[in-house]
Symmetry: C2
């Protein structure tokens, strides 16, 4: 039997959910939409959906067993709890809530009702992320100890409601939640300290250019950067491992790995090298014969695996990939990062 | 009258001092050297210098009024104080001492004796640094708010005594002191928090790959990185300003500035753009007509200006460029960074 899905908040991301499901997930039929804006209702009708007149009508529609919430962030909690209590399974856009406490309330209701609750952390299926994850898992660069993950734009202000604090706007909640979720996937161990520098260059309300430093229990750390004001882009990923370095330049996943050759032992025979920076041993170029370039690993990347997993959980009791408890860790890290910004200093955590 | 200079510790850097002075500073004559190693003594003799049999002979040599200390870091303090007390003017290699307290002891003696004491922070005259400083001072990128300064090598371990803790080895004291000194020149305001992640990949004793985050009172912050294990290099400088971005690729100072055009107002008319990363407004490319590329500013860069200033101070009462109090701020930042590493978390400071 097909699952019947309704979308609450039929804006930009809802169209994305709708068309991806329609194209790739035959086990789900998108049947209805709820929105407070007339133009969104018109768009939903145009796309062949039933438009609910209010939330009650949707909650009472017994033919719908699955709801995707894609509204502004500040109403996620209320809607998720109402849908779960009405017996719906719920997929919620990210950030799932504005803080960890709100998410704990949802999780409690999901456990009471026994319904599925998951968060649309679709960027776990981004090609660039999957390449980094595979390269690390296959030991291609040894043990990773410093990972830089950057998403840089240059269009200035956050768009629409994402620029408003009361809607849960700002870069940390918008893109930060993706990059932190990816970070915790790469380093599933504990986060032991966080340091946030949140700039508000274009907004009086929300952060729009942010730098985050996460330190993990093993000693590795990550720098996460999200910019709206960067006119000369840096690589999407720069990963330092004990045996090599990995770079992915951009979303198209151009990049490479350069690693130490097992038989490429280096000697200090060259002693001091005179570079344009003056005499140096430490920073002199490494002899070419001691390293080799290898291509990035091949991966399969498909965002719709997210919804396929939802179907597999509902129909076959498969393991849920994006778990509420994982999102709770992400939200706790975000809470700590806001606290770090407030304090103007790094904070010790145990997350 | 020519100043007569003796060098204590005639190793790699001493040769650099010697040849630079000989070539460019006619007001100083390098006349003698003191070292504990026979091969260094031989080298000094070869270069036409008198080789002192011990420190006392040097201190009693009334013809020498200026001493450069270029020994391992752990003996800087003792030697500096002895030289000052013997009436010598003293130039000391960086890091001036192992911590702020040691430097305060030297400063007290310098004040008692009335002799000149300065630190060879020659990288204030690096071309790349001077370009960044000038670009900021001339407002070419608006107000800088995030500056990344990186020195990346790939030869692994620190060389010789720089790999030993008791000699004051390690990357933070070796290169860190330069990059922090430059940072405090770019942002002369107070440092309000520090966060260090010091990795020891190749050494059981000292840090060899380090990431430092400094936050300044104005709200700007800097990421400083020094690596010995980076096989795909990042730019030497990446500077984010409110009106533009500056990049300097490497020591040869290839680079550029991309800035917003005053008449390049951007609209959101494009709405969502479908990139390889999925639909996005915030991260969509900025229309080309709204930005322009401008060349890096021209600068004059000459390391020997350091010694010319020493001569000008001694002969004409000029203002000392590299002041002990500035080095004291740098050492306080370094003390705090070591404390941050020890604590595993960022620390609030007032430096």
């Amino acid at each position: 039997m097909k699952h019947r899905l309704a979308i609450i908040g039929y804006g930009g991301m809802a169209g994305w959910h709708h068309s991806n499901i329609k194209e790739k997930i035959p086990a789900i039929e998108v049947v209805g939409a709820l929105d407070v804006r007339e133009e969104a209702e018109a768009k939903a009708r145009e796309n062949g959906l039933h438009v609910y007149k209010d939330l009650d009508e949707l909650l009472l529609d017994k033919t719908v067993d699955l709801v995707t919430i894609a509204t502004p962030n500040d109403v996620h909690k209320k809607l998720a709890i109402q849908c779960l209590k009405a017996g719906k399974n719920v997929v919620c856009e990210k950030p799932v809530t504005l803080n960890a406490k709100e998410l704990e309330e949802i999780i409690a209701v999901a456990e009471q009702t026994g319904r599925l609750f998951s968060i649309h952390q679709n960027r776990r299926w981004d090609r660039d992320f999957l390449i980094v994850k595979k390269a690390i898992e296959e030991g291609l660069i040894g043990t990773p100890y410093f990972v830089e993950s950057r998403v840089q734009g240059s269009r200035g202000a956050m768009h629409g409601w994402r620029g408003h604090k009361q809607n849960g706007g700002g870069m940390l909640l918008d893109w930060g939640v993706h990059l932190i979720d990816q970070a915790l996937q790469l380093f599933p161990e504990k986060v032991v300290s966080v340091n946030a520098h949140l700039f508000s260059l274009y907004s009086d309300e929300v952060d729009d250019n942010i730098k985050l430093l996460l330190r993990f229990e093993s000693g590795a750390s990550m720098l996460l950067e999200m910019a709206t004001n960067c006119l000369i882009l840096q690589p999407r990923w720069h990963v330092s491992g004990t045996e090599g370095t990995l770079v992915i330049e951009d979303w198209s996943c151009k990049g490479k790995i350069v690693k130490l050759k097992p038989d490429g032992e280096m000697t200090w025979e060259d002693d001091i090298v005179y570079t344009e920076a003056g005499p140096t041993r430490t920073m002199a170029p490494r002899p070419k014969h001691t390293t080799e370039e290898v291509p990035l690993p091949e991966v399969k990347a498909d965002w719709t695996e997210y919804y396929q997993n939802i179907v597999d959980v509902l129909d076959h009791g498969a393991e849920l990939i994006v778990k509420p408890k994982q999102a709770l860790r992400v939200m706790k890290v975000i809470d700590a990062l806001f606290a770090s910004q407030e304090a103007g200093v790094g904070l010790r955590v145990d997350i």
